[in-house]
């Protein structure tokens, strides 16, 4: 009988040990590998950015990002890529821009195609855009499908809500 008792207690103890080892609730783990990193396979149309060479505008294409249709305008102030530099391209826009389609949030009556409102992110400084820069902005914006015309906010009258409409057509002399 002693042996049976001992065996029974041993079994119970083992069970308790197993339960204690596995524990209740969620246990922390070490760092676990879960396969290879994900592949970047997002799809986005390429964007067209108007850069400057020899005072003339030159369209170049860059890869886009999904869900960022106006990325091209936002890309204007970014330093040119090495490859663009080797062919003598540069940009006249030096400060970051923020863009907003005018159909959004303004109670607008615009129909597509609608204009794009562009202003400098840092409003404390005067944009000081050159004509070439404005041409870059206007043409790059109009290269985006569904956009026609640009409203430059804070270009001449400093941030009173109004804006200066410009169009790429005004800068035909800068286009090749």
């Amino acid at each position: 009988m002693i042996g049976v008792h001992a065996a029974r207690w041993a079994a119970l103890t083992a069970l308790a040990a197993v339960l204690a080892a596995s524990g209740c609730g969620i246990r922390p783990t070490g760092i676990v590998d879960a396969g290879n990193p994900p592949f970047a396979r997002g799809y986005a149309d390429t964007i067209t950015v108007y850069l400057v060479r020899g005072g003339m505008l030159r369209p170049v294409t860059r890869p886009g990002i999904p869900g960022r249709p106006y990325l091209a305008v936002e890309q204007l102030h970014v330093p040119t890529t090495p490859r663009e530099r080797t062919v003598g391209l540069h940009t006249e826009v030096h400060r970051a821009l923020t863009v907003q389609a005018v159909n959004e949030g303004l109670g607008s009556t615009f129909e597509r195609p609608w204009p794009l409102a562009v202003q400098q992110i840092d409003r404390s400084m005067s944009p000081g855009w050159s004509r070439t820069a404005i041409a870059q902005i206007a043409c790059t914006a109009e290269a985006v499908p569904g956009i026609e015309g640009v409203i430059l906010v804070g270009a001449s009258n400093t941030g009173d809500g109004g804006g200066t409409p410009v169009s790429c057509r005004q800068f035909a002399d800068l286009l090749p």
Binding site: P38, A40, V78
Partner: protein, 482 residues
């Protein structure tokens, strides 16, 4: 010694408890694994899908903060998740996300591992479990010069597992309740089952006790074909064998007793004649003129013949006891009168001091009472020394009314080795048994008579010297067979 039922119940319950605990423990572990796997799989798949879908293989320059913010928004769409995108360093080092951006801090080791693979880790922080996921992106195109500008960021996500934790707590509670219920029903079932198992055992026990008490016809019912049925069969076989043997022995014993009785009866008739004849011969020899010697021899023959007659009478009496043929003929008797009559009939009135109440009436068999008293007084007179006293008084034993008669003498008393066997047949105090004139059956017969009344007869030595025989008889014994 713990009862069999308790032990069986305990074992049954222990087995049930063990099984329940094992089952619930295993199911708990399995369920937890499945639950956590699913939760982890969901988070990992979300991260993987979001990154794959949101990040193109080629990036425009300087959009890391932009795409990082976009990824964070997408990954934090699920409640309980927080995400941080940090620029990937190309010099082999790692950027850690800012503290408080995630629910759990990211260690450098984790970040290093995340540089190579999609990795995750479960972390408990402030009692809440979190899943921390970290990865970089693969399969992108960058430029050889200024690659830093077009590399997608690394992403860390912390996902709270508090819902899974709550589910597990719920499961634990349910299992505890279930186990408690299982334990309770196990105890009830065990009690029921052991009652079923132990009923035949108890029946066997009752039967064995009955057999031990002499009921040789006791048998148990053999039911089923288990070990207990085997045991019952064995019990019955044993009881059969025992009954057979005991019956044979009884038959043999009865035969030998009948033989003694028959022999005694057969001897009585010739002995009666012989006693009469030898008495006449002794008489003639004593009065004849032929000589003195012949008279002595004839007297000896007459005495011995009379003794032989007494022995035969005693043998007949005791064989009646053995055969169970002795019966009580009860009467209301005044003890003092009965004692006086006994002593007077044998001429011992002057030699025995009687002491006792005159108005003590007891219901007993006067003939047998006379036999016992005569035997005790005769022994005291014959083997002890005067003064012989006979005291009687009312005495209750074990709540039963009765009368106690004590006969003492002033002799040497009984030898110690004789006290235990003094009531056995043919036991005599004198070494030379053949010369004693008693039959050696007197005390046995006295004892049988006492027992027949439902009383006792005991022998002891008086502390003051001399033998002491104590007779106790119940005042009104059951009239059995009368």
């Amino acid at each position: 010694m713990i009862g069999l039922r308790l032990r069986l119940t305990a074992a049954f319950t222990a087995v049930a408890l063990l099984a329940a605990l094992l089952a619930s423990g295993i199911s708990y572990v399995l369920l937890r694994r499945v639950m956590l796997h699913r939760a982890q799989y969901t988070v990992l798949t979300d991260v993987r899908k979001t990154l794959t879908r949101q990040v193109p293989d080629e990036l425009p320059p300087d959009v890391t903060p932009l795409i990082g913010a976009q990824l964070e928004d997408a990954l934090e769409a699920v409640p309980g998740r927080k995400a941080a995108a940090v620029p990937m360093r190309l010099d082999g080092g790692v950027n850690l996300p800012p503290r408080n951006k995630l629910d759990v801090p990211v260690s450098t080791e984790f970040a290093m591992r995340a540089m190579r693979k999609l990795v995750f880790q479960r972390v408990i922080r402030d009692g809440t479990p979190y899943l921390l996921v970290g990865t970089r992106l693969d399969g992108y195109v960058t430029t050889s010069e200024e690659p830093q500008r077009t590399v997608p960021p690394m992403v860390y996500v912390s996902a709270s597992l508090s819902r899974e934790s709550a589910d597990l707590r719920l499961l634990t509670n349910a299992l505890v309740v279930a186990d408690a219920l299982a334990l309770g029903s196990a105890i009830v079932l065990a009690l029921l089952a052991t009652r079923g198992v132990l009923r035949p055992v108890r029946r066997l026990g009752v039967a064995a006790r009955a057999l031990g008490d002499g009921d040789l016809e006791t048998r148990v019912e053999v039911r089923g074909r288990g070990e207990l049925a085997d045991l019952a069969r064995t019990f019955n076989d044993t009881a059969d064998a025992l009954e057979r043997t005991v019956t044979e022995l009884r038959v043999m014993e009865a035969a030998s007793r009948r033989f003694v009785a028959d022999v005694s009866h057969e001897l009585r008739t010739p002995l009666t004649s012989m006693i009469a004849a030898t008495d006449v011969l002794a008489e003639q020899a004593a009065t004849g003129a032929d000589g003195d010697g012949d008279g002595g021899a004839a007297r000896l023959v007459a005495d011995e013949t009379r003794r032989l007659g007494l022995l035969v009478e005693h043998l007949i009496e005791i064989s009646r006891f053995d055969a169970g043929a002795a019966v009580l003929v009860l009467d209301d008797v005044n003890v003092l009168d009965a004692v006086a009559a006994t002593l007077a009939a044998r001429g011992w009135r002057e030699r025995v001091t009687v002491d006792g109440p005159a108005d003590l009436f007891v219901r007993l068999d006067p003939r047998r009472f006379d036999v016992v008293l005569a035997n005790l007084a005769g022994n005291a007179l014959k083997h002890g020394r005067p003064p012989v006293s006979l005291r009687f008084a009312r005495a209750d034993r074990a709540g039963v009314e009765g009368v106690e008669v004590v006969v003492t003498d002033r002799g040497p008393g009984l030898p110690d080795d004789l006290i235990a066997v003094v009531f056995d047949r043919f036991v005599k105090a004198e070494a030379a048994r053949s010369r004693s004139d008693g039959s050696g059956l007197g005390l046995s017969i006295a004892r049988e008579n006492a027992v027949l009344h439902g009383g006792t007869l005991e022998a002891a030595n008086d502390p003051d010297g001399g033998a002491m025989f104590t007779l106790w008889l119940p005042a009104g014994p059951e009239e059995d067979h009368a």
